[in-house]
């Protein structure tokens, strides 16, 4: 099978990696924790929460485009997951959990549509990366020059703007596959869609993103860097 290696280019930004990495418990026995949580053990469930909360929140943030709404949706999703653990029938627990998060985010988006004043566009003006932190504040590694930082912040804002402009289903599939790096099977599980649908939506979403980025002329700088093989 061809593996062109794009997926391996997933970059972890320095300051964020140090902030998030220690929370994951790699040695945990997930099936045992799920079984304990089903019997009402909240502490066992909380270990699962700690293991998955980063991806859950990032998914929520990228779908809603708003840190506060994302936090609410994530909390609601974990609560709902705990109460409906008996509905988990095996398979990828992460995909099952992220599906609940996705549904919570869609509920939030529907609520927002009923209140048009708080649209994604309005949220995008500040582009907070959660908890009131702006994207450029958390995006860059500390050894990057101010010019490079400013340039990267522009690119980030452009990508976020284009991402927020996608239809919900397209945005979700891009976030799951490209930002959270889930494989197609997990994306399908998280979206409740067949793999064929995932593949099709992802391709179309990427094409739309390309159009959007080209139109905003923000991709050119990134393109040059990538062409020159500079680290990103």
């Amino acid at each position: 099978m061809a593996a062109p290696g794009v997926r391996s280019s997933g970059r972890v930004v320095g300051c964020l990696a140090t902030a998030q990495a220690p929370r994951y418990d790699a040695a945990m026995d997930e099936p045992a924790l799920i079984a304990d949580a089903r019997r009402g053990d909240v502490e066992a469930f909380n270990r699962l929460v700690l293991a998955h909360q980063s991806k859950a929140f990032n998914l929520a943030y990228r779908i809603t485009g708003d840190g506060e709404s994302a936090a609410d949706a994530t909390q609601e999703a974990f609560l709902s997951a705990y109460r409906n653990l008996r509905g988990y029938r095996g398979g990828s627990f992460r995909a099952w959990l992220l599906r609940i998060v996705t549904n919570a985010c869609y509920d939030e988006l529907r609520r927002r549509k009923r209140r048009p004043a708080e649209s994604l566009e309005a949220v995008d003006e500040d582009s907070p990366s959660g908890d009131g932190v702006r994207a450029e504040d958390v995006f860059f590694s500390t050894n990057e020059s101010p010019e490079a930082s400013a340039e990267r912040a522009e690119v980030t804002r452009a990508i976020e703007r284009c991402l927020n402009g996608l239809p919900d289903e397209f945005r979700t599939v891009v976030v799951l596959a490209d930002i959270l790096a889930l494989d197609y099977a997990e994306v399908a599980g998280a979206m409740g869609s067949p793999i064929g649908t995932v593949r099709s939506r992802l391709a179309r979403a990427r094409a739309r993103l390309r159009e959007c980025l080209e139109a905003s002329r923000e991709l050119s700088g990134e393109q040059v860097r990538l062409a020159e093989g500079r680290p990103t």
Partner: protein, 247 residues
């Protein structure tokens, strides 16, 4: 216009899946062969790769806080129906207690107004009556006397002041009225009065007395209402508890 925009949807999906390593080896080989001879397709792949790289380069967002659950968080909030169920439960219970109380008080007051020995005698008279009805057509004077007392007792049960409504009449009519006195007073009095007025023969009166003694007591609607209220209150209590149950 980018290369991606003009690409057939099927080729776009193939390129996208190729970037993700999701094509079968055979499909990947076929696509690579096309990429070697179709510059536009190769250009489209490069554009797609740039987009994917850019999106994957987005930073991981810091989690603002722990989303771990506390004991209070997992408590299921009470159902919206809970206040209504609670009110209905209280109402049904209050009605049940009220009707039970009224019935008990009235029953006690009636018993106080009735002559207790007469009730006992009426039972004896009933047994005597059965013997008479089965064996002899002519009631003995003793049975008639018992019947009189029983009728008086039954009448007294209906009227707490002790007034004898149906005058004791010697003979079968009196004994007939005595028969059901120990079980149900009201029908026996009416029946006894009717038979007394019509003046039936001794045999007919005896048979009527036996029939009357075997008539099942009528269902008291108050008792039925009480049972319904009690069961309803119990059911509502269960529903109320379930509506606010915790996980």
């Amino acid at each position: 216009m980018t290369r991606l925009g003009s690409l057939p949807p099927r080729d776009l999906e193939r390129l996208s899946a190729y970037l993700d390593g999701d094509l079968t080896p055979q499909d990947a080989k076929n696509l690579e062969a096309r990429l070697g001879r179709e510059p536009d397709l190769r250009q489209a792949l490069d554009e797609l790769r740039l987009v994917v790289s850019a999106v994957r380069g987005l930073p991981e967002v810091r989690v603002p806080r722990d989303f771990t659950l506390r004991g209070a968080d997992v408590t299921r909030p009470a159902s919206k129906a809970f206040p209504y169920l609670r009110f209905a439960t209280v109402l049904a219970t209050a009605l049940f207690v009220l009707t039970t109380g009224i019935r008990t008080v009235s029953s006690v007051s009636l018993q106080l107004g009735a002559a207790a020995p007469a009730v006992e005698l009426s039972a004896e008279g009933q047994q005597e009556l059965f013997r008479d009805a089965a064996g002899t057509s002519e009631p003995t004077s003793e049975a008639a006397a018992v019947g009189e007392v029983a009728a008086a007792g039954a009448a007294a049960t209906q009227t707490p002041v002790g007034t004898i409504v149906a005058p004791p009449t010697p003979g079968p009519a009196g004994t007939a009225s005595a028969a059901p006195a120990g079980t149900s007073a009201a029908p026996s009095l009416v029946y006894g009065a009717e038979t007394g007025a019509l003046g039936p023969s001794d045999e007919t009166a005896g048979a009527d007395a036996v029939r009357t003694a075997r008539v099942a007591p009528p269902v008291d609607p108050v008792v039925v209402a009480q049972a319904v209220l009690g069961a309803g209150a119990l059911l509502l209590l269960v529903l109320t508890v379930r509506s606010r149950r915790r996980r």
